[in-house]
Amino acid sequence: MAEPVIVIAPATKPPRVPSQLRGLLAEQKVLFGGGFILLLVVIATLAPLIAPKDPLEQDLMLGSLPPAWLDGAEPGYYLGTDDLGRDILSRLIYGSRIALLVAFASASLAALIGTVLGLLAGWYGGWTDRIISRIVDIWMAFPPVLLSILLVAVFGSGVHSVIAAIVIIDWTRFCRVVRAETLAQAQLDYITAARTVGFPRFRILTREIFPNIVPVLIALVSLEMGIAVVVEAILSFVGLSVSSDTPTWGGMIAQGRQLIHHAWWLLVAPLIALFATVLAFNQLGGGLRRALDPVLKR
């Protein structure tokens, strides 16, 4: 009865080879997106060394200076100053710290929670699946921006509240995708084979299914980081993120929106920074998905 085919089947999974790294870098989106994020990480880390001025230093004599290429600019203030005379470039550089902190922390935590619940729902089915799926449905009935504002109001403003709010809202993105992927993987022959051979259920989940979901997960985390950066900016914009003396892109955007007829460059600089960062995370995510997914690659 024991057909040898079944026994060797678990081993026929596509092996992970180091040449994947070369494939990754060949993907332009990964190169550009990843390159930009890497640059941003360096800028954020070395902010005190790179920033030309103290981001909090006010000089009312030098308020609302235009950027260097416009008339009336002062040397040394490359992107101009805000109404309090604070250097915009320096504030932008320091603002990247909060943006990246929120992006990395909230995306990885949301991924962790969503993945665990998604794996359990997809693999064990039954009541586990029913309960988790119902919670996800309820979650999806909240407008995310409103819920995030509500949560930050509950937790009190601050960077930890922002991260917590994003995690509480966005774990469902991971949960839904991971659940669907788990269901799809569970149909495949190598899983049937592993079960026939008598692997314990939990071990199949962690050793067989999970590794095959990782590529999708990595791409999703990158996309989520882009979303988190925007949510942080929105919360700062509404005035609910970190305290107003810490420079954030969203806070700068809110200030720029108020003074738009007075000094438009206050809005342009942080908006471009936000756009570039979101785009980079998106390109990286899309590129990773293509590069890591053997089916899409074909």
Binding site: R134, I135, D137, I138, M140, A141, F142, P143, P144, V145, L146, I149, L150, L151, A153, V154, G156, G226, I227, V230, A233, I234, F237, V238, G239, I253, R257, I260, H261, W264, L267, V268, L271, L274, F275, V278, L279, F281, N282, Q283, G286
Partner: protein
């Protein structure tokens, strides 16, 4: 069979809405910051404060408060707004139409833009225009409504000031509206001066909400159109001598529109969620803008009402998408 399946979905929708109600209620009871403290005059006596608490039912236990609230909501009583001191249902009904007008206008604009770009991309496939469209669309796919809204403020409000930056209508223009649907009503009443003013106010928020959805529609519709173009029935029509434009519009589009439509439905909930921040940026008087104020003011009855309204809208949209998908796909009907 269909009736049973619809009934099933309705029950599930009711369960979801109840879950939303429970969560928002529990969430709001743990909000630090006393709503009563925000409305009393300085120097009010403890007795006054206690009276106010009793008036808004804040002196009862949590479960009792929830019971009272749910019971009232079921008969259409959403309570009184603490910050605005008006009936919550009345407030919701006065603001909801502005948001609905905005959301549906954005949906239509998104379908028009997304559809047009997808059709053009399909017509010009294998020319240099196609990669240009794909690349641009790929970049724009990453731009969220928040960024669009502010970019539009800069481009069409400041650099080339063509549209008003905030509000729904020029206050000096106001006619006596019978309904709260300004855009529709001014059109139906042939008040074109008013219509163009309301339209000018709504253009930027509509675009900010429509453009992210349009890029999604373009991507999926173009994909399905390209698939359809190599099918046998298109080949047959081509052999009959049908022009390329008619092939795309008449043959391929009809068969490709299903998946795009159901994805659009799902994405429409994101669009409605986006009204919260977009209305804020353009000071547009809808429920989204009101929601942010309600949270900042800790206005519990108003927040509860608003979240229930948003939840209901989301659930109705999802229900409509399911039914639409079933109607468009005969195989699902019998499944």
């Amino acid at each position: 069979m269909i009736a049973v399946s619809i009934l099933n979905r309705l029950i599930m929708a009711a369960v979801t809405l109840f879950g939303v109600a429970v969560i928002v209620f529990v969430l709001l009871r743990v909000v630090p910051g006393d709503p009563i403290a925000m409305m009393i005059a300085p120097g009010a006596s403890p007795a006054d404060i206690a009276a106010l608490r009793a008036k808004y039912g804040l002196d009862l236990s949590l479960t009792a408060q929830f019971g009272v609230w749910i019971e009232a909501v079921l008969i259409g009583d959403f309570g009184t707004s603490i910050s605005l001191r008006r009936d919550v249902l009345e407030l919701l009904l006065s603001r909801l139409p502005a948001t609905l007008e905005l959301a549906f206008a954005a949906l239509i604009v998104a379908m028009l833009i997304g559809g047009t770009v997808a059709v053009i991309g399909t017509l010009f496939r294998r020319t240099s225009l196609e990669p240009a469209i794909d690349t641009t669309n790929g970049v724009l796919l990453a731009v969220p409504d928040f960024v669009w809204a502010l970019a539009l403020v800069l481009m069409l409000g400041v650099f080339i000031p063509v549209f008003p930056l905030s509000g729904r209508i020029d206050p000096t223009l106001s006619i006596d509206f019978v309904t709260p649907f300004y855009l529709l009503e001014s059109l139906v009443r042939f008040r074109f001066d008013v219509f163009f003013d309301v339209a000018a106010h709504i253009v930027m928020p509509v675009l900010a909400l429509a453009l992210p959805l349009a890029t999604v529609i373009t991507r999926i519709l173009k994909e399905t159109l390209l698939e359809a173009m190599v099918q046998d029935y298109v080949l047959l029509a081509r052999l009959k001598g049908m022009s390329e434009t008619r092939l795309v519009l008449q043959e391929a589009l009809r068969n490709a529109v299903g998946p795009a439509l159901s994805l659009t439905g799902v994405q429409f909930t994101f669009l409605v969620g986006g009204t919260v921040i977009v209305e804020r940026i353009f000071a547009y008087p809808g429920i989204g803008n009101m929601a942010i104020d309600a949270v900042i003011n800790r206005d519990l009855p108003l927040i509860q009402g608003l979240v229930l309204v948003f939840g209901s809208i989301f659930i109705v949209i999802n229900l409509a998408v399911d039914l639409l998908a079933a109607a468009l796909n005969p195989r699902l009907c019998h499944g």
